[in-house]
């Protein structure tokens, strides 16, 4: 097999991003409903819109942010480019372009997932069915990951796939942290009493992992340290950055350092930003500033990869949800 056509590098990269995004959106919707019910006024659906800074886009077609409208917007709305159904359609379109480079099992699973999503009706997102629907979507994404692990040749396309996946995952974690610190109470000293902290941890599958790391303790800076720096936790920024680094090194080995310099430069900035962190004393403002910067740096890496390997012109927006990049 000759070297990889640039367009296919982009396709596998976005395949990774779209599927990672699908899983995260499903997670957040599920958690928001299931674990945030204790508040007297019920789950807050506006916060999901804030998480992705999509309030504006939402209000173009919907009036009130309630369970029905937000779930419709994020699960079934094909006019919303960041809905789950749109992500799955885009993932499949990208996969279709590289159908000859991926395994039959990968393609078959994506097809089944895709037809499930297309057949899904409003009944699937009623409150009584949401948990089931979300678990099923998450399971579909995780199954796909397993199939990749077992069948995808570890050549360049796999490298771009994982690069896309970990960039997206890091981006999702920054959003979850951001919204958590912005909205959750910090005024009760160091002790976390609010169930909402658990919600935050659960939305990244980190509740039990955190408990085992910090038995009997629940402090804001511990949670921060956990989600930023624990490079054994799959959704921590540190682990994502490690994986991004692995893939960048892999590309460097394949293509040589000179071709690769801009990608490496942006990667180093990302690493440096994480080492420096948001500063010693966390305030919501400081953390927000850091997370915002970090999202920008992830976009820089994406741009550099795009320009070096996909033949892209620079991207403008920093979040996948806002760019509508459908390769």
């Amino acid at each position: 097999m000759s070297s990889l056509v640039a367009r296919f590098a982009a396709n596998t990269f976005w395949l990774g991003r779209y599927l990672e995004r699908t899983e995260n959106v499903a997670r957040i919707l599920h958690i928001n409903e299931t674990y945030a019910r204790d508040k007297p006024e019920g789950p807050d659906w506006q916060r999901v819109l804030d998480l992705y800074s999509e309030s504006k886009q939402f209000h173009k077609n919907y009036k009130e942010a309630n369970a029905q409208s937000v779930l419709q917007f994020y699960v079934l709305d094909r006019d919303n480019p960041s809905s789950i159904v749109s992500s799955v359609i885009n993932a499949r379109e990208n996969a279709r372009s590289v159908r000859h480079l991926i395994s039959t099992e990968m393609w078959t699973h994506l097809n089944i997932f895709y037809s499930q999503m297309l057949e899904m009706g409003a009944g699937a997102i009623t409150l009584s069915n949401l948990a089931n629907t979300a678990s099923n979507i998450i399971l579909n994404c995780q199954t796909f990951e397993g199939i990749i692990e077992g069948t995808f040749l570890r050549t360049e396309p796999a490298c771009f796939y994982h690069l896309g996946k970990y960039i997206e995952r890091a981006d999702q974690t920054t959003r979850i942290l951001d919204i958590g610190y912005g909205l959750l109470p910090l005024d009760e000293g160091d002790a976390i009493t609010s169930i909402q902290w658990n919600v935050l941890l659960r939305s990244v599958s980190g509740y039990h992992a955190y408990r085992s790391r910090y038995p009997g303790r629940a402090r804001v800076e511990d949670i921060e340290r956990f989600l930023l720096y624990d490079n054994e936790f799959p959704r921590a920024l540190a682990l994502c950055v490690d994986r991004i680094t692995d893939r960048v090194r892999d590309l460097e080995r394949r293509h040589g350092a000179s071709r690769h310099s801009e990608v490496e430069r942006t990667r180093r900035e990302l690493e440096f930003a994480l080492e420096t962190g948001p500063g010693k004393e966390i305030t919501p403002e400081r953390l927000h500033g850091f997370l915002d910067r970090f999202q920008g740096l992830l976009a820089d890496v994406t741009n550099a990869v795009g320009q070096t390997y996909f033949g892209y012109a620079p991207l403008e927006s920093k979040a996948l949800g806002n760019t509508k990049q459908t390769q």
Partner: protein
């Protein structure tokens, strides 16, 4: 038509089918169709909002061909491909066949698929038609006849291979102990043929398959073949030409391309030479081809050899170049561009099958005995207005094959498209695509007109 030695095999297949009740057969058929969906073996119909994936209907009862019947098809197709290649080489060089009056020069030179740009261009090994699909039908006497040659971008071979996989999964018991010719070797044979026609006899050329892209209805097949060959699947936008050499844009920069199996028509190949509005092609590709820096399969300008009007002359063309009688007969054809043929056609419109020569996919075909008076009078006007554009043929009592329809098994008309690959020499895939007209009595088997397909078993 089946030989003595095939009888036990046929009896065994029949017995096995008999033992399956119709519900079991239907269940297995449903499983097979679901599998086609899951595997994404679909062609896509696009509407404004949706992309609807359809599968080519698949009939689970295989069509069985005897060893003897296949031997005739195999040698007949090889003969035909050899004649087509010699004919194309001749008309684009010295034109002996035209000067000797075997075929009217005008029919060739004024043909819309004739490419004057190809005059004097030498192609590696003199092979123009690397991939050929020959449409055959079986008449009342059981004789295979050629209905049409497809020497441009014949499609459908992926269904031959996938149908076999599907059959072996759904009916492993049916094939058990039956010696069936293997079809799996097609991809590597194709790659080998492409290597044999690489420029400058190079031994390890970079081969790519060029597709119009995901919106093409045959995209699944392009993917399938690229995978089977182990080559990159590219679109025009992935290629560029510099100094009359072709390159593809890769993650490590530009990489030289030597052979292009293109699944895109001549007109769209190169906007500098053919249709200037083509967004699918590559500027400068034809110049690179002319210089021999890249080879294209099939060659440019092969459409003139599979034209429905030129078809009528194929028996004479075979005789002229090979000094052999055709092994596979044509269906007798009236050429409306000739006075005699026109009169015969107009006098017998209600008995003949009339076809526009420039269309493919079964479009515009009028089956006289089945047509209404209004359809016939419309046809008469069309033929009179543009006789060169029409041929007519007698009705052939197309053979039938048992087909699962709803809860019963009924006879349905079938045709057969064997696929021939030519690099240095010609190889015919033992099997071919059996297309079946799913509607009762229908003679039109094209997928665009609701036709389906069957697995084709060649006994060895």
């Amino acid at each position: 038509m089946q030989s003595q030695q095939d009888q036990p095999h046929l009896a065994k297949i029949l017995k096995c089918l008999d033992e399956l009740d119709i519900s079991a057969l239907r269940r297995r058929a449903r499983d097979a169709e679901r599998e086609l969906f899951n595997l994404g073996i679909t062609f896509t119909v696009y509407t404004d909002r949706d992309a609807i994936d359809r599968i080519l209907p698949f009939d689970v009862i295989p069509r069985v061909l005897s060893k003897e019947a296949w031997a005739t098809i195999d040698s007949g197709v090889k003969q035909r491909v050899a004649a087509m290649n010699l004919f194309l080489n001749d008309i684009y060089h010295d034109g002996h066949v035209l000067r000797d009056g075997i075929i009217p020069a005008e029919l060739v030179k004024a043909n819309k698929h004739y490419r004057p740009e190809m005059e004097g261009v030498d192609v590696p090994r003199g092979t123009y038609v690397h991939i050929c699909g020959t449409d055959l039908v079986r008449d009342e006497k059981g004789t295979f006849r050629v209905l049409e040659d497809n020497g441009r971008c014949p499609s459908g071979v992926s269904y031959v291979l996938e149908n076999r996989h599907l059959m072996m999964r759904a009916f492993p018991d049916l094939a058990d102990g039956i010696p069936i010719a293997d079809v799996d070797g097609y991809g590597s044979r194709l790659a080998r043929a492409m290597t044999e026609v690489a420029p400058h006899n190079m031994s390890h050329p970079t081969i790519v398959l060029m597709s119009p892209g995901v919106y093409n209805s045959a995209y699944f097949e392009h993917v399938f073949l690229a995978r089977e060959m182990g080559v990159q699947l590219v679109e025009g936008r992935d290629l560029l030409v510099e100094n009359d050499k072709v390159f593809m844009r890769t993650t490590s920069g530009q990489q030289r391309v030597d052979v292009i199996y293109r699944r895109i028509d001549d007109e769209f190949l190169d906007p500098e030479v053919f249709r200037p509005d083509s967004a699918l092609g590559v500027n400068g590709l034809f110049a690179a081809y002319r210089k021999g820096n890249v080879n294209l399969a099939n060659a440019v300008g092969t459409g003139v050899a599979d034209d429905k009007a030129v078809y009528a002359y194929m028996p004479r063309i075979i005789k002229y170049y090979l000094d052999e009688d055709p092994i596979l007969q044509n269906v007798p054809t009236n050429i409306c561009g000739e006075p005699e043929g026109l009169n015969k056609t107009l006098d017998n419109l209600d008995k003949l099958v009339t076809k526009p020569v420039g269309e493919s996919g079964g479009y515009g075909v009028v089956v006289g005995p089945r047509a209404s008076k209004r359809e016939l009078s419309r046809l008469r006007a069309l033929v009179k207005a543009d006789p060169d554009n029409y041929i007519s043929q007698p009705m052939i009592g197309l053979s039938v094959s048992p087909t699962l329809v709803g809860r019963t098994i009924e006879p349905r008309h079938v045709d057969l498209r064997p696929f021939a690959l030519t690099g240095e020499s010609t190889w015919v895939l033992p099997g071919g695509l059996t297309r079946v007209a799913m509607k009762r009595g229908s003679l039109i088997v094209n997928s665009s007109q609701g036709g389906g397909s069957k697995d084709t078993w060649v006994l060895v």
